[in-house]
Amino acid sequence: MSSDKEVVGCARRVPRLVIRTSGTPKTPRDGDVHVGSIWNDAPCPVLVVDADGDVIGSNEGARRLFAHAEEVGEGLTAGGLPHWLARAHHRPHPAAAPQEAVSGTVAGRTFAAHPSRIENGDVVWWLVEDTDLRRAEQELRHERERAALLADVSGALLSSLNLERCAEVTARMAADHLADAAVVVAPAQGRRHALTYAQGGGGITRTVASIDPRTVPGLAEALQGFPPVPARWIDPDDIPDWSVPPGFAGPIGSVIVTPLPGHGVPAGVLILLRASTHRAFTDGEEVFARLFAARAGAALSAARLYAEQASITTTLLRELLPPRLERVHGVEYAGVYRTSQDHERVGGDFYDVHPGADASRETFVVLGDVAGKGLEAAVLTGKIRSVLHALLPLSGDHQQVLVLLNDALMNSHHTRFATLVLASVRRSAGQVLLRLTSAGHLPPLIVRADGRVEEAATGGTLVGALPDVRTRSVDVVLAPGETCLLYTDGITEARGGPLGDDFYGEERLREALRECARMPAEAVVERVQMLAAQWLGGGRHDDMATLAITNPAGGVDGFAVADDREGREPCRREP
């Protein structure tokens, strides 16, 4: 380029190539000869277009491109321009302002057409190809959408450990984002499969049906989970009625069956359906469906594992949970148990009420505390409760029961010891007769009808520590409205209060009980537990158990009602 050549156009992202040359013709058809060879050799297609929109010159690249466009049947204007470029060419614009680049396709390739205006009003269009860039950008956009969707899917799936819910979320998200409808087929329970149907934007239907997996090609293998099978296309005409969501409108165009890979166990199968009015699945979508299935399968198998573990735990804990108490032979019993850890259900405290065979026989009550807390302590409470259950025929003789229990504990591999209170309870006319024995445990408190609170005069050694057991039993009579409270030291040793580090203590407990005269048994235990809990605030605490034996103020003929609120097990009442 020589110094006398003046730059007359400047298009963004285009090198300054357009220069004025002497002898530029007004409208020559052989413009390339005169305009110069600079753009003729340009690495992109170049067109010179006059004010009327006629192509008056083009370089080799442009000629090849447009020849190809004609081959594939793309229409051009009379002047020889693609329509999108003709529109841009004729668009009015202020002469001073640089003209904007426009984009369009030619022969399946995309170009950014950059104009540079020559003095005589002709425009040189530089067609810079960006096919790959656009494709990459589109891919990136799709990939981002998929990543966001997968994050949503993972979030929605991982938030729940409920199998039913995971299947619902899988079906709904698949129907919303992958297909028009989706079916999740769970592994068989016996011969039956849980089926979860979803339609895009529609509801979820669940059913359990006895289906034959062989009726859908590939389903039986996919359900077994091994050997690994790929997602596969199947002929929409081949699928049975059960695999189509109820109420699905219109004929089915395409179907994919994708296994849901679990953690070593099959998590089920996802069937995706598209209506014939919708386009078929692309390869990219099939890959995405696999990614989706991987996440859904992981969530489903985690949920299945959790359900199994929860079921095992429930079964194992059932015997360790505190029993529900109710009125027995005209005497009220109520217990509340709070474990030291909020997330646990069992601990080192325990209680049981073994009703007498009839009203004339004694009911045997026990409340105790094993050294330690948590599951290990709970296991020992289970053993003690079993031993005591076996000793029921001897339960009239507290000393003998404790001696036998002590022997059993001394001979077991457990190093823990326990303290407990035994009570034999019998109603006699309007009174309730109690025989109480404490084995190293806090003596029961008796709440009289007039509000006096007495300590039962019983004491003895704990069990499981020494070869001998010595105890002193006491007989107590409860008049109507009176209560005997058995409790563990978790109550009195609750640390807190307004000043932060005081024990709740026996004195406060007695003070609280003075107001519990003539209260129903549940009210007494709830009140004590509530006061102790409020005393604690949010502080740490030991296991806390309370059990009330009450001669009801309302007499013996009151309504015998099982109480819903006992224990932590939720009560579900079917309508």
Partner: protein, 395 residues
């Protein structure tokens, strides 16, 4: 209702043997009321029934209360009406009577226990199957909340309307609630809280359940009469009462997308750490206030240990409510608590000026906390001026 009358007589006999003159009189009243039911041809109105149930309950006459409820149900009274217009009305009255110092805490608790058993009796009656069956829902009180009756009435109301209800009871620890929701996949979780001081715990429970994709409806006095704290804490729905909750549930509740939400997002004002400070220094604040009271007035130094403990408890309550007001950033919450306390003290002939002194002292302890100071000053303005010698909440 001959059975009920017989039972009531038994109670009367036993009451006379052991009880005070006062309760004896009340029990006699119940007998008359029960006989009245048998004589009247027209079915009693809910308010008649509530009046009679109140008499039985406050007289600790459980059999009479049971008999009354059973007889009303036998006579064809609507189950929901009995629960919500009779039983709930009596429970509300128990609360009002306690606030007005006409009954003690223990009587309140005994009355609540009897009401609870009345609900149980009504709930276990064979009822015609509801017109339609719906999904399952979980009903629970938030951790620390011991007032389970409102939630229980809701659970029974929903059962009557065809829902399968899992009722987890009072003070449900959040880990139990979450474990239960994982296992039962309810259409919604309904959480109840009566005391505003449980709002932070309620917030934690609401976000925890929502993060599982399960919608949460909240209710109870803690959330405000207009449900403002329900909205603040991001609950998916709120209802003013059991009927409202049942109607709202029937319309369907959708869970909002909560996967990426944190509790702090709902309450950006927590960034000033005032709540955290007051909450974690509760004990220190109470101790310092007690010491300051000792300096100001000779009265508190002369207190018995029990009186000192009451005073400390009152101060602790004030700090708890202040912390909650900071949590929800509402001066109103603190002011209404102070107003309520003033009324409670007045009903017990305790000068409310002591309360003012307590707040003045708290102000001195919280000099560096502008939000807390603002709340306390608003509350102080609603109280009479303090004489120099009276502690808060002590007779």
């Amino acid at each position: 209702m001959p059975a009920g009358t017989v039972m009531t007589s038994t109670v009367k006999a036993s009451t006379v043997k052991t009880g005070t003159v006062k309760t004896g009189t009340v029990t006699t009243g119940t007998v008359n009321a029960a006989k009245g039911t048998a004589d009247t041809a027209a079915p009693p109105t809910p308010s008649d029934l509530a009046e009679r149930l109140w008499t039985a309950v406050i007289g600790r006459d459980e059999p009479a209360a049971m008999a009354l409820a059973t007889a009303a149900a036998d006579a064809g009274a609507d189950g929901e009406t009995l629960l919500l217009d009779v039983v709930a009305a009596v429970q509300r009255r128990v609360g009002h009577e306690w606030a007005a110092n006409r009954i003690g805490v223990a009587e309140e608790h005994a009355a609540t226990a009897i009401i609870d058993r009345v609900v149980t009796v009504l709930a276990h009656r064979p009822t015609p199957p509801p017109s339609r069956t719906r999904g399952n829902v979980t009903v629970a009180c938030v951790d620390g909340e011991w007032h389970s009756l409102p939630a229980r009435l809701l659970a029974e109301t929903l059962t009557g309307r065809g829902w399968r209800v899992d009722f987890l009871g009072a003070h449900t620890p959040t880990p139990h609630l979450i474990a239960h929701v994982h296992q039962s996949n309810p259409a919604a979780a309904l959480l109840s809280a009566s005391l505003p001081t449980h709002l932070p715990t309620a917030h934690q429970a609401v976000t925890a359940v929502q993060s599982l994709g399960i919608p949460v409806m909240v209710g109870g006095a803690a959330f405000g009469t207009d449900g403002r704290y329900a909205r603040l804490l991001g609950a998916d729905a709120w209802a003013p009462d059991a009927r409202g909750a049942a109607d709202r549930l029937a319309r369907g509740i959708t869970a909002r997308h909560a996967e990426r939400r944190h509790e702090i997002d709902d309450l950006p004002h927590l960034a000033d750490q005032e709540y955290t400070f007051v909450k974690s220094n509760r004990t220190t604040l109470v101790r310092r206030c007690l010491a300051a009271l000792d300096e100001r007035g000779p009265d508190t130094r002369a207190y018995s240990a029990a009186q000192r403990e009451r005073t400390a408890e009152d101060l602790a309550h004030i700090v708890d409510f202040l912390a909650t007001a900071l949590y929800v950033d509402e001066a109103d919450l603190f002011t209404s608590f102070i107003g309520w306390t003033r009324d409670i003290l007045t009903a017990r002939n305790v000068p409310a000026a002591g309360l003012r002194l307590g707040l003045d002292i708290l102000t001195e302890q919280l000099r560096d906390f502008p939000r807390a100071l603002g709340f306390i000053r608003v509350a102080i303005d609603t109280l009479p001026t303090a004489p120099a010698h009276s502690g808060p909440g002590t007779a």
